[in-house]
């Protein structure tokens, strides 16, 4: 789960981690009154969207006066921002963060993340702050310091110190730097984060360390034990169909094509997209209906797929293991009737009771085209849709 920068900074504040003075604004009126109340004349007006690259796309403006700040707020709020991470359709900016400017002396990079190859939490620090860390990792890897956390003892104080020195924090600040690093790590663990990224971590001219930007992502699997975090979810940042699907325990991702898919199992669902493309078709969605495909779930799945008006045909690919194909077939027939499905429907059933499943489809009175193999199914749906 992702949250906005201003929400991340609120959380940092609760842990005593310094952030700039700032307030969110969800409307122009709010922005204006916030800007008026700010003590500083130098203000940062920042678009709040769940994507990076905002600065380059004009989503972050530094204003030298309150008038400038108001103009910036009017320009950014309600606009559609297209950044490297939003995709070509961009994201609409519904929220702003208004912050007091600060006197930057130097910028650093700090993040905490899971290192998949060691299955351990790793802290990454660099003197190259404010830049794209992946580029630095590729072009100047020597500028990056890493500390791997031993799960049995957590991050050790000496590791936080070592990282502070390695990042190039001035020696006089190593102690407060280490304390800052330790607080960031503790936050990561306490909130079950998947990422905490402070880029840039700024050293001000007043010799203070503050988190000028903060990105926090949370482990979806752990949200059950953080009910307070769930409240921070911004549903306008999510695809409506993906949200709806997750409420029914269906895994759904919208894509750009016109062949709807329903499959049991994530790997098989990915493979189904692959085979459709291989036969010249374009999948409209990824959908994993899971291991307990009841009539209700299959009906929900059809409904969600068909909400996408681009869909011209549907491919159902089920490998019945414990789930019997005849049960699935009955579910498909009921769901097709309930939803009034008129689109071409190709159903490939394999596994337990596949033959009786196929019989049920054939006798349903519906126009359902059976397929015996992955290739056959994909070929047929592609030919129907073209």
């Amino acid at each position: 789960m992702n949250i906005h920068e201003y929400q991340a900074k609120e959380i940092l504040k609760t842990k005593g981690i310094p952030v700039p003075i700032g307030f969110p604004a969800l409307s122009i009126e709010e922005a204006v009154s916030t800007i008026d109340r700010m003590e500083s004349d130098v203000l940062a007006v920042k678009a709040q969207i769940h994507a990076g690259g905002r600065g380059k796309a004009g989503g972050v403006k530094i204003a030298m006066s309150k008038e400038e700040a108001i103009q910036a707020a009017e320009d950014i709020l309600g606009s559609t921002l297209i950044t490297k991470q939003t995709g070509p359709e961009g994201k609409c900016v519904n929220r702003l963060l208004i912050e007091a400017g600060c006197n930057i002396e130097s910028e650093f990079y700090l993040s905490v993340v899971l290192d998949r190859s060691s299955s351990k939490i790793v802290l990454i620090g660099s003197a190259a702050g404010g830049m794209n860390i992946e580029e630095i990792a590729e072009k100047e890897p020597e500028k990056i310091c890493r500390e791997t956390v031993d799960p049995s003892i957590g991050l050790a104080e000496f590791q936080a110190r070592r990282l502070a020195y390695g990042m190039g924090l001035p020696s006089a600040l190593a102690r407060s730097g280490a304390a800052f690093i330790m607080k960031i790590y503790e936050l990561f663990i306490e909130k079950d984060c998947t990422t905490v990224e402070i880029n840039p971590l700024v050293l001000t001219k007043e010799k203070e360390l503050i988190a000028l930007d903060a990105k926090l992502s949370f482990d979806d699997n752990a949200l059950y034990r953080h009910p307070g975090l769930l409240k921070l979810k911004d549903e306008t940042e999510e695809d409506i169909r993906e949200l709806e699907a997750s409420k029914h325990d269906i895994s759904y991702i919208a894509l750009n094509g016109n062949i709807g898919c329903m499959v049991n199992g994530a790997g098989l669902a990915m493979a189904t997209l692959d085979i459709i493309k291989h036969h010249g078709g374009t999948p409209a969605n990824f959908l994993d209906v899971g291991g307990d495909a009841t009539v209700e779930k299959v009906t929900q799945a059809f409904k969600i797929i068909m909400e996408d008006k681009e869909v011209k045909g549907i491919f159902v690919n089920i490998f019945g293991g414990i789930m019997k194909c005849d049960i699935i077939a009955s579910g498909i027939v009921k769901a097709a009737k309930v939803t009034g499905m008129q689109l071409p429907l190709v159903v490939r059933l394999e596994g337990t009771n596949a033959d009786s499943g196929k019989k049920i489809l054939a006798e349903s009175g519906l126009l359902i085209t059976p397929a015996d193999s992955l290739d056959e199914g994909a070929e047929k749906i592609v030919s129907f849709v073209h």
């Binding site: 998949r116 499959v263 990915m270 293991g321 992955l374």
Partner: protein, 295 residues
Amino acid sequence: MSIMINRTTKVIVQGITGSAAQFHTREMLSYGTNIVAGVTPGKSGMEINGIPVYNTVQEAKWETDANASVIYVPAPFAADAIMEAAEAGIELIVCITEHIPVLDMVKAKAYVEKCGVRLIGPNCPGIITPDECKIGIMPGHIHKKGHIGVVSRSGTLTYEAVHQLSEKGYGQSTAVGIGGDPVSGTNFIDVLTAFEQDSETHGVLMIGEIGGTLEEEAAHWIKQNMSKPVACFIAGKSAPAGKRMGHAGAIISGGKGTAADKIKTLRSCGITIAETPGEMGEAMIHALNALHPKN
């Protein structure tokens, strides 16, 4: 022969009193798996399908000398169940559970390694040696006894691959589901090492997907260490970047973990690639014949 499990393996079912666990216990028993005990805290003295239930894994092990365990415990408690089995010295732990918090697994995996036992999963269908032992939820009847080792991050896609092999007359020595999570107990190299040492395994079919670098690491290992032919299918060629495709570990992030990169590395290390999921069985046969060309 086979790897890791066979007809003598003695299995404990952790979480046995849950409804899914009871169902799968019956399925495993009817396949012929030697289930010797169940564990559910507080339910000691019960019997499920004739299987005695104990409060703790330690007690179950003392009473039955079990050497494997399968975990059907809900996600909030599953990591603890893994660690309980590891501490009791269960040599092979198979965790079916999906949605275990990542930080729980980071701890559990480190603990398992400290205890010197093997964890398969979590979020996996399990492991099966056809006609001998099934530990997990896979449909036994699609499997045939034979000489192809199967190792996969997936569930139903693995069944698809096994089905293709069985239909073409190529049975399996052992099929291992290593699971779809970003933190897993066993990786491809662990399983390939065992297949390489198993005289009855003549070739290996690997099924990977986007996310992480397990396939690339396996590719380099295969090039250096594997004498037997390997075929591979990678799911997710059409997956968009940045989106979690069902499995928690199936995500392309920071440009890393794409199907294209994995396929490139695998090919360069001599592994036969199945271009589409419909050709997984064929790719395996092709790889076998390439090593031992038929006259």
